[in-house]
């Protein structure tokens, strides 16, 4: 029986992708159904791969996109090799500088307003704090009244004795005089706005 030389896998690949089929091989493929089926199967697989890849690329790059790409490439090359354009800074602009001077004047006003606000805040805080607490008013009044006695004795017993020496009516009367004074009246709105310690609690 005559030995049949089937085509090897590599030879089939060569025939499918690289080289033309020789006359002998063509005769063999015509006679050998097995080799021909292998060749057809391989060719179909390669065609599938090629079709899939080509279709995917062509779908991603339709003619409009290719045209845009073409334009971008040529536009890029249009500027290629040319020196960069330098835009001159306007010479007269630096002499006037109105923006800078306006900024300085404005910042001065802002600084002055901030200082004034700080002063008013400190004063208001000081008075508002003192008048907001009944105990504090009492201490100021009491201290004024008892100062000579404190200097003389300097003991706890003396304080109790001096405090007792001012009647409640007199003490409340002094508070009212202080509250009704002109400086206290000006600060009354601030005092109204400021929460009391017992309210906050």
């Amino acid at each position: 029986m005559m030995k049949v030389n089937h085509l090897s896998d590599d030879r089939l690949i060569e025939l499918s992708m690289l080289e033309a089929v020789s006359t002998t091989e063509q005769q063999h493929l015509s006679a050998c159904a097995r080799c021909d089926a292998r060749r057809v199967r391989l060719q179909r697989m390669l065609d599938d791969v090629s079709d899939t890849a080509t279709a995917a690329a062509d779908a991603a790059f339709p003619p409009e996109r290719l045209a845009r790409q073409h334009s971008r490439i040529l536009a890029h090359l249009q500027h290629e090799g040319r020196p960069a354009r330098v835009i001159a800074f306007p010479a007269g602009h630096a002499q006037h500088e109105p923006t800078v001077s306006r900024t300085r004047a404005g910042s001065r006003w802002v600084a002055a307003a901030a200082v004034a606000g700080l002063v008013v805040g400190v004063v208001a805080g000081r008075f508002g704090h003192d008048y907001g607490r009944p105990g504090a008013s009492r201490v100021i009044v009491a201290r004024t009244a008892e100062e000579p006695e404190l200097r003389a004795t300097g003991t706890t017993a003396t304080i109790r004795e001096v405090s007792a020496s001012i009647s409640d009516d007199e003490f409340l009367n002094q508070i009212e005089i202080a509250i009704d004074g002109p400086s206290a009246a000006a600060l009354q709105p601030i005092d109204d706005l400021t929460p009391r310690a017992w309210d906050v609690r």
């Binding site: 690949i13 992708m17 690289l18 791969v49 995917a56 062509d58 790059f61 790409q69 073409h70």
Partner: protein, 215 residues
């Protein structure tokens, strides 16, 4: 889908340097552009180059897209390659096919982009897995009739099979089969011996056949 028949290289002894085909129209055009640039007529050179870009563009995006699997990256790689070709046109050797020289520049541009993409991904938060589906550009229009013929499942299977090839096998397969270059041209484009190119090509096809015929 219309398919041009594969370009056949003359049969050569493995590893020997192969005689190349006569210079193509694109090679002649490239030589002409080189002459114009050398002569200082850059405007005329650019005009002629527009023609060369149009002739090579479709093939270039197919190679780049097959390699990068991302339309934006492929777009960028192709643009980079074309710009680089023009800026270095004076170093083009007229005795070589333009396609070979251009393909080499294009493959290098794709490799650079893949490297930069890998660097970007190292810092990026991983999104949902898209490894088994080809990346589709948002601007992609309705599928072509050719796409509809091939089932989605088969398309994904083929894409995954090609993606599973080692880099060099994939490059050789892409250039030989999809870009329809001869093994001699691919060996010049990649700086490999022709025997090595053939080995990579055979291994790639064997692996694809194993994955796709029995998968």
């Amino acid at each position: 889908m219309s398919r041009t028949p594969p370009r056949r290289a003359p049969s050569t002894v493995a590893g020997a340097s192969a005689p190349l085909a006569p210079l193509s129209r694109d090679s002649q055009l490239a030589a002409e552009i080189k002459g114009l640039v050398t002569g200082g007529d850059r405007d005329a050179a650019r005009e002629r180059y527009g023609e060369l870009v149009a002739r090579q563009q479709r093939r270039a995006v197919r190679i780049a897209y097959q390699y990068l699997r991302d339309a934006h990256d492929a777009d960028e790689a192709v643009q980079d390659a074309f710009i680089k070709v023009f800026t270095h046109i004076t170093s083009y050797r007229e005795d070589l096919p333009f396609e070979v020289w251009f393909t080499r520049i294009l493959v290098n541009a794709c490799l650079d982009l893949r490297k930069s993409r890998a660097r970007r991904l190292r810092w990026a938060v991983p999104m949902s897995s898209t490894s088994d589906t080809p990346v589709v550009d948002p601007a992609t229009p309705e599928p072509t009739p050719e796409q509809r013929l091939v089932s989605r499942e088969r398309t994904n299977q083929i894409t995954a099979a090609v993606d599973s090839l080692p880099d060099r096998q994939r490059t050789v397969f892409t250039l030989c089969h999809l870009a329809e270059q001869t093994t001699a041209e691919v060996s010049q484009a990649l700086g490999l011996s022709e025997a090595t190119v053939r080995v990579h090509l055979f291994r790639a096809v064997r692996k694809l056949r194993r994955l796709l015929e029995h998968g």
